[in-house]
């Protein structure tokens, strides 16, 4: 028994899985209509945007020395605006407040996606350059980017949200592959890919080493600055992907989209067992953390509870998750 428990505790995802099960059980018993397939699928769908952002942010946090990306929400905003404006003809963009009906021009959509992700990666690259080359603390560098990117989104869209994207793009946000919603499938696929990169490749090893001890990594001849820049680029890319999904789900591009999402994503990463000290963590946990955040949001919607009651509980749960994780680490030291 004790060894089985120890084995379970050796997984850093154990606390978040435990929390998800506890909350799901409580909701299943006390909240009507919770345990329906539609509702559970809905919970997963709602977690996708934050979940995908959390994957990128987890890598940034792992990179250590205060690694954090506060700009992910703003990058989501600016990249989704860029996507929408590539698709929508300029003469239509500012004229109409009505829902647009646009043709599925695949070449245009492809271009829009490339621009969208390009903008995300470029913003991420600037973050990385400020951190690795200029030497700014990540908090400051990404705080600046958060402000700048949000301003850029407002500028190029003139502050106007656009409704009505091509149906093939909306499909990404609202349809399912068999019974799995596309955003969820995307989140799972990206998490698995990044998990493999983090645990099975030389790149992943150098990222963990750079985050765990930057000096040692230099002495081992690793490309420390390149690694640092790369995680911010990946984080920017994943924020842009999050932007595509959010736009597609809501069938609109809004310059204020994603405000505060970076904090949810950071919470998800921490809930998933990633240490803010860097050097350890995992993206599977981050995705579970995002699922958990959307899970505890769910009964509020179902029972019409005022949000004001739930937010303090969310705060407390984050603390509990971190305490659980610290306890887990102490327990698994034994061997």
């Amino acid at each position: 028994m004790a060894t089985a428990l120890k084995r379970i505790l050796s997984f850093k995802e154990a606390p978040i899985v435990f929390l998800i099960l506890v909350v799901a059980l409580l909701c299943g018993v006390f909240v009507p209509n919770f345990l329906t397939a539609a509702n559970l699928v809905n919970i997963l769908s709602q977690s996708a945007t934050v979940g995908i952002m959390a994957i990128g942010i987890t890598l940034v946090i792992i990179s250590g020395s205060g690694g954090i990306d506060l700009s992910a929400g703003s990058i989501l905003g600016v990249s989704s605006i860029v996507m929408a404006m590539t698709i929508i003809p300029p003469e239509l963009y500012r004229d109409t407040a009505a829902m647009l009906v646009l043709p599925n021009d695949y070449w245009v959509i492809f271009k829009a996606l490339v621009f969208c992700m390009g903008v995300g990666m470029f913003c991420g690259f600037l973050n990385g350059a400020m951190v690795a080359w200029v030497g700014l603390p990540p908090f400051i560098a990404t705080l600046a980017m958060m402000t700048a990117a949000r301003g850029l989104a407002a500028y190029i869209s003139a502050g106007i949200p656009t409704y009505g994207l091509p149906t093939s793009l909306v499909w990404v946000g609202q349809n399912s592959l068999w019974f799995v919603p596309v955003p969820v499938a995307l989140m799972i696929a990206l998490a698995v890919i990044v998990h493999i990169i983090l645990t099975r490749t030389t790149y992943g090893m150098s990222l963990l080493a750079v985050g765990g001890n930057r000096e040692t990594s230099r002495f081992c001849g690793m490309n420390v600055k390149g690694t640092l820049i790369s995680v911010y680029v990946i984080c920017g890319l994943f924020a842009a992907v999050g932007g595509v999904i959010l736009s597609a789900r809501s069938n609109q591009a809004h310059p204020d989209a994603g405000i505060g999402y970076e904090l949810s994503a950071i919470s998800a990463a921490v809930l998933g067992g990633t240490s803010m000290m860097g050097g350890s963590g995992g993206v599977l946990g981050a995705v579970l953390g995002a699922v958990f955040l959307s899970l505890i949001q769910n009964p509020i919607n179902l029972l019409n509870i005022p949000v004001a009651y739930m937010k303090p509980i969310m705060g407390a749960l984050i603390v509990i998750a971190v305490l659980l994780d610290q306890w887990r680490k102490k327990q698994s030291i034994g061997d």
């Binding site: 099975r200 490749t201 030389t202 790149y203 992943g204 090893m205 150098s206 963990l208 080493a209 765990g212 001890n213 000096e215 040692t216 990594s217 230099r218 002495f219 081992c220 001849g221 690793m222 490309n223 050097g279 350890s280 030291i333 061997d335």
Partner: protein
């Protein structure tokens, strides 16, 4: 000579094991101090002398109450000091000017001097005027009135910071003043000034403990000298009874040379490392140095002589102003550790925790940080190959670990050191820089590390070893370069390698010896 009533400080049979930054004992089995008996008389200047790591700073920390002894007692003016209570030491009038500055760089000179004794003026606000005046008065005592008390400390050059540090200690009007290498950053003029103040304080009845590496200072201001070696007080004698410098050096290094080193002569091959005219910062002396295959070359000197800095430049961690580094016939680009590694160089750094290991990663992962590329297929790590290689080196180097997957931070220092060594060996490094290879390692593991080094030399590896332990340098080196003030001052070879000669050059005592 010294009667009990004159005694200001007395340490009786003090013992302290290896401790961490907070002063907590980590390992009672590795004593940093043992059987320490020490006394300080009223109005006396008592010099502490010893090699790096002999226990001088630890002894002083015990007196200040910064670390708590495992055994033994500390008395200040006949009164026993309760364990670990620096406040008590301070209220008994003990002040310290420590080697590592304790100034707050963002506060002004006056604020630093007044720290902990701030004057509160009208309305509960700090009385800046009084504070500035008091600071100016203290600086005037050191004839350092040219230092502006309202400047921030971080804007001052090191020598002036040192003077502020001393002024701060004096401001407490201590009855016991501890000076831990106070002159290492000062110019000759400033040193003269300091000595004037020291003599003045002494005539005012202040007792002083004076730690130095500069032998001539002992004769200039010392009353008694206590020699420390390996954490023990070897002898205390009045300075005027010291016959010559050689006698003191002999006491510092001792005569015992344990057969710990397993040193053997190995066939020497071509040059592995050639350093030509290497100048770190403009104004430094140019360094020339050669290490050949099969050789173990020692790099000796006191702390701050520039040994680690030199090694870091050779390896490409830091850049240099001018000069050339050649490894196995290839000239290395400056500031590029990857090129150094590719050329066959490896570095076992002095600070294992900060520079040698990634604490959260496993033994196997730490073992493969340098050879990761070789163990991978298109960027994917072959877990099997990694395990095999790690297992191979764990058994070859006899690393004691619970498993290959165990996080390296749970290993002992000696075993961590073996993993770091394995990391370079598995990457085929044939020129290894060892920086303090056995610091903080127990005797058994030390011996194992020495055996591995000799074994490497026998197989044709070239080794450059930085060490502050004289016995280690003498016991292991085929040749020794001695550094002082960021330059090489002497090279010893074969039979001329001896502890006293090395110390003399390292401490700048060669002129004194020739004189006497």
């Amino acid at each position: 000579m010294v009667t009990g009533s004159d005694e200001v400080i007395r340490l009786r049979d003090v013992r302290k094991g290896l401790y961490d930054l907070s002063g907590k004992t980590l390992n009672r089995g590795i004593p940093v101090l043992s059987d320490i008996n020490f006394s300080l008389a009223k109005g006396e200047i008592h010099v502490l002398l010893g090699e790096n790591g002999a226990g001088k700073s630890s002894l002083v920390k015990v007196i200040c109450g910064a670390i708590e002894p495992d055994q033994g007692k500390v008395f200040i003016e006949g009164e026993e000091i309760p364990a670990n209570d620096p406040g008590k030491a301070l209220s008994s009038g003990v002040a310290i000017v420590s080697q590592e500055f304790s100034l707050c760089p963002n506060l002004t000179v006056a604020e630093n001097i007044a720290l902990g004794r701030e004057q509160i003026g009208a309305g509960g606000f700090l009385d800046k005027k009084t504070m500035l005046a008091a600071a100016a008065a203290q600086l005037a005592r050191l004839e350092a009135s040219y230092i502006d008390p309202s400047r921030k400390v971080k804007r001052l050059p090191v020598a002036e910071q040192q003077l502020v540090e001393i002024a701060k200690a004096l401001a407490a009007e201590p009855r016991v003043l501890i000076l831990d290498e106070p002159t290492s950053a000062l110019t000759d003029n400033q040193v003269d000034m300091l000595f004037k103040v020291v003599r003045l304080l002494k005539s005012g009845g202040v007792s002083m403990i004076y730690i130095t590496h500069k032998l001539k200072e002992i004769f200039e201001i010392g009353d008694r000298v206590t020699v420390l070696r390996d954490g023990r007080t070897i002898r205390t004698i009045p300075v005027n009874e010291v016959a010559d410098v050689g006698e003191m050096i002999q006491m510092m290094i001792g005569s015992k040379l344990e057969n710990l080193f397993h040193k053997e002569a190995c066939p020497v091959g071509d040059a592995a490392l050639v350093v030509e005219n290497l100048v770190g910062r403009p104004g430094d002396q140019a360094v020339d140095l050669v290490v050949r295959k099969g050789e173990i070359v020692g790099l000796a000197g006191i702390v701050g002589a520039g040994r680690t800095e030199l090694a870091r430049m050779i390896f490409g961690i830091d850049k240099y102003a001018s000069g050339r580094v050649e490894v196995f016939g290839k000239t290395l680009p400056p500031g590029n550790p990857r090129a150094a590694i590719a050329a066959g160089m490896g570095f076992i750094p002095e600070d294992r925790k900060r520079q040698g290991i990634v604490p959260l990663m496993s033994v196997a992962e730490n073992m493969c940080h340098v050879s990761a590329r070789r163990l991978s297929w298109h960027g994917f790590v072959s877990i099997g190959k990694r395990r095999k290689l790690a297992a191979d080196y764990v058994s070859r180097l006899k690393v004691a670990a619970a498993s290959l997957g165990q996080e390296i931070r749970y290993l002992s220092g000696g075993n961590q050191q073996k993993v770091i060594l394995g990391k370079w060996l598995s990457a085929n490094s044939r020129l290894l820089i060892f920086d303090e290879p056995t610091r903080g390692i127990d005797v058994g593991a030390k011996s194992a590390i020495y055996r591995l080094m000799v074994d490497l030399a026998r197989r044709g590896a070239a080794i450059l070893m930085i060490s502050s332990e004289l016995q280690e340098i003498v016991g292991m080196s085929d040749r020794v370069f001695i550094m002082r003030n960021r330059g090489v001052v002497a090279t010893l070879e074969g039979g001329s390698i001896a502890g006293d000669a090395i110390l003399r050059y390292a401490m700048g005592g060669e002129e004194l010896v020739r004189g006497s």
